[in-house]
Symmetry: C2
Subunit: 325 residues, 2 copies
């Protein structure tokens, strides 16, 4: 299928075409890459925008259950929902967070929803580009909400925050001493902290955890792009379906406020500029992954390891070989 | 002064020459850079090796007081000690950790010691290279121990660990709930955890903190490059001069074990290869900081921000301009 036909099918809302288009942007083949750039350009030209929500949470907080319940609630309101996963660790574990679709059984079967697991063998640079392009394809396909989920591993939250309009941190109830387990940087990125499992025996612990995080958020400086009261911590229960409506209302309120105040558009503009820089840097460095540079790097690296050559002298030689002395 | 003369003066142990040589490796000027590479190559050719000790600790743990007491103990044993700082945040704060030499009054006046603060306006990439080269210069100048200190900011610990033979984490006494405040990655890099201020009222708290960290270290897998019992947590008091002899004995034991088992040399070999790769990557990317690429990046970046051009299309144009389509 020609890229134009594929792009048109995506824009017409053909789910199989969307799946095929995402497979194309995931491909590492050079000819596929050129096609992917073409495809994404045509998708962007449709000019559609979804609400992009980044969702981070470590394993065990109930991410799949939350996405199932939250997604079904949005679908019940007539919204179309796409779910993408960013999982840089899948290369190691061999599996992906969303690989087990049975954990989101209802949502994965709903015609208004589209769920796409993380590709295996992905590196962070590749994951960032693939996710960004998959988001653009989902937007072109007319989805109203694109959820991008990530586990709290390495740089993945930063990547997701640089792709999304809102960033949500999902937590499980815990003792107060676990507060510090959340990296400060992630707290600072979060627009909304949702304490999941606020049901049954865990409800009091969830409420305490919420209060702890609300206190911690209060200590962080309010950001100019936020209305009064944000960032905010709420209790939710995915299995009891409670708090989800409130959380969604807050997300809409925040998004609306940012749109009205110009922060929405300027955030997207800054993100685009950031990714432009990343693409250029990745492109410059990619020469090192191809022959003959790859072989020279290995040969010079071996001499540096053996102590025959200093790191600086070897680097000078390598840059000269690349015509960049 | 010619670089050869300067290198010879450094190797002869001339402290003013060493200070001037470090200033040269810190310079951002292109002609100075070529001279610095020459200088470091000559310094390395002297074939001297010091024990390189990385020391990390957040503000308030008593780093300066510890370095003063620990350094004076080494000097009293007839050893020559150099202290270098890695402080990527100094660009922002305008000051450097070791800027206030009065906090190490005795050590800074001792002829067997050499203290060099972090340069201002340093970026992480530049800091890493400058520190690596300054360490090589100190080794050439005949110092037996080179202490590289860093505050726990961003990537600086990883940089220091990639430069040093041993990595020490300095902590203050604290409640057990603060254990998680230390990033897991830093715990995993530490060969020795020293709980400072184990004196007076704080002694019981220091002992508890030591036990907490000893327990946490026990949970981490023992590394093949370590003898039985390492990594280890100890109490020290810089103001009472207690525990320092024991800490130094452990450092020597660990270093001796690694040397006898070949881990020492293989670690230095891996570090050299790592820095070779970093130098090449920095060199490739440095084109973006110079005209005409810098101007093109700004112009294309502005169009991406304005929405005239997608990040991918702009990156393709930029890479074409760089002859790397």
């Amino acid at each position: 299928m020609e890229m134009t036909d594929l792009a048109n099918a995506v824009i017409a809302g053909d789910r199989r075409a969307l799946a095929r288009a995402i497979t194309r942007v995931e491909s590492a083949r050079a000819d596929h890459r050129a096609e992917a750039v073409d495809l994404v350009a045509q998708a962007r030209a449709a000019g559609r925008q979804a609400l992009r929500i980044g969702l981070s949470g470590t394993p065990g907080v109930g991410k799949s259950t939350f996405i199932e319940a939250f997604g079904m609630m949005l679908v019940a309101q007539g919204l179309r929902v796409a779910v993408l996963a960013v999982d840089p660790s899948s290369a190691r574990s061999g599996g992906s967070i969303l690989g087990d679709k049975t954990r989101m059984e209802r949502l994965s079967r709903d015609p208004a929803a589209f769920i796409r697991p993380s590709p295996s063998q992905a590196q962070m640079g590749g994951v960032a580009r693939r996710t960004r392009e998959a988001v653009a394809l989902c937007e072109a396909a007319g989805f109203d909400v694109v959820l991008v989920e990530t586990v709290g591993v390495g740089q993945s939250e930063t990547v997701v925050a640089e792709i999304c309009d809102l960033f949500i941190l999902l937590l499980a109830p815990a003792g107060g001493d676990e507060l510090q387990g959340v990296k400060r940087g992630i707290m600072e990125m979060a627009d909304l902290i949702l304490v999941n499992k606020a049901d049954g025996d865990l409800k009091p612990a969830a409420q305490r955890t919420r209060a702890d995080y609300a206190g911690a958020l209060h200590l962080l400086r309010r950001r100019p792009q936020d209305p009064e009261g944000f960032p905010k911590a709420l209790c939710v229960s995915a299995i009891e379906d409670s708090g989800l409506t409130e959380a969604w209302a807050d997300m809409q309120r925040l998004a609306g406020w940012r749109k009205a105040n110009g922060h929405w558009q300027s955030r997207r503009a800054h993100q685009a500029r950031h990714w432009f820089g990343e693409e250029v840097r990745q492109g410059l460095l990619s020469v090192l992954d191809r022959e003959p540079a790859k072989g020279s790097m290995a040969a010079l690296g071996a001499r540096v390891e053996a102590g025959d050559l200093s790191p600086e002298a070897a680097a000078t030689q390598m840059l000269a070989l690349l015509g960049r002395a």
